[in-house]
Amino acid sequence: MLTILFDGIAYGMLLFVLACGLAVTLGLMNFVNLAHGAFAMAGGYITAVLMNRMGVPFLATLPLAFIGPAILGLVLERTLYKRLYTRSHLDQVLFSIGLVFMAVAAIDYSFGSQQQLIQLPSWLQGRVDILGVQVGLYRSFIIVICGALVVALQLILTKTRFGSRLRAAVDDPRVARGLGINVSLIFATTFAFGSGLAGLGGALGAEILGLDPTFPLKFMIYFLIVVTVGGTTSITGPFLASLLLGIADVAGKYYVPSVGAFVIYTLMIVVLVLRPQGLFERAR
């Protein structure tokens, strides 16, 4: 019972790690970046390649899995994405799906279509017994990182002026500029940061979810579910939604395996029909 709860939390956290970058770009910047998964994949491949081909230790690859996609995000933002903020969501969908296709084929071309596997360091493998509950070490590791991320993100967005300037820039970029907000700088920073988060998520998620060129397409739905159910105006919303979905999914599959596949989708539909703006939309 408690083990299931723990697994659910860990799975939820994993969803969150992967989706929080999207919560930033889609949720806060209102940019439908379906290529989010491609940045996550980039992070995953950075970790896999560094570990498998160069023998870099797992932990040491994580910062690079953040920085690499962040720089990639920054470059793409400055050259391409920035032209699309003012465009319709449909344009954004088309564009970012195009990027995904390119990324999928490019990764396939350079690394092949097979799974990339990584070996965790031994101190992250296995599980320990805490008060009678079997706790997986790697899953605990993910929970800790996630917790830290949520707190940090929440502080940045609510306690600094950056957060309100970002939201102002999203609400009305034209007027925000006219009132002295450097919209492009804010967008570029945020986008790079979101991409970095995606990369980190990809690196952390690769162990459990696997990593192959179709990664961005395979998990796109999950990212979107988390962000939509959580609501798009905060970080805590998607965080709580991840937890809820993770626990519901794991518990559903454990207790009623025959309908396990329906749980997450049905939950999503029900939540969205009852609360169209998302479960945890800030009601201030």
Partner: protein, 244 residues
Amino acid sequence: MSDLLTLQKVSAGYGDAIVISNIDLHLRPGESLAVLGRNGTGKTTLLNTIIGVTRHRSGSIVLDGQNLTTARPDKRAHAGIGWVPQERNIFKSLTVEENLTAVARPGPWNVNRVYDMFPRLRERRSNMGNQLSGGEQQMLAVARALVLNPKLLLLDEPTEGLAPIIIEELLAALTRIIRGEGMSAIVVEQHAQKILGVTDSALILDRGTIVHASSSRALIDDPAALEQHLGVTAKKKPLRAASH
């Protein structure tokens, strides 16, 4: 004394359309200017061009010695322009207070001071931007421009939607700011009578060009010009008589 703002032969518009053309304009520090004209004559476009959110075609814009012709809008704001857009454009997902703090720059006008000017805003400080009444939005738009502590205020129909008593206070405050603190202002207004009492000079736009420029006093005393360009007649008969 040198100009605070100089526009030389400025033309601008949206997309392929040129809306204002060949605008020349000089404004000294502490001077205020009323911009009048019928609907669609380019008043808003003129202000938008000064802040830089239209498509610039030709001419130059200089503020306080700084050439802003091709500068980005945020640079212009930093250079000392505060803008009240016609449609208010309150940031809807920010609270009243965040709307102010997000753009505030150091100077005599801080959040508290604008709250003193519009006590209604203090009461509603934690309302989201999209949960304000029309007049409250207008007050917030003016307050938001003030906390930028600009040298030049661009006000696009700032009195629209405000209660008479607030308009009275706002105009009085504007006069104080301009006279007392040396801020300059360009005010677009529909009510010629109301604004001409406040500003130093006035111009009238028609089809994107300046068709009249003079001191405010001179325009008030020139009912023929008002009638010709704005269609303002001296006194109207009550509407009630119009029915039946």
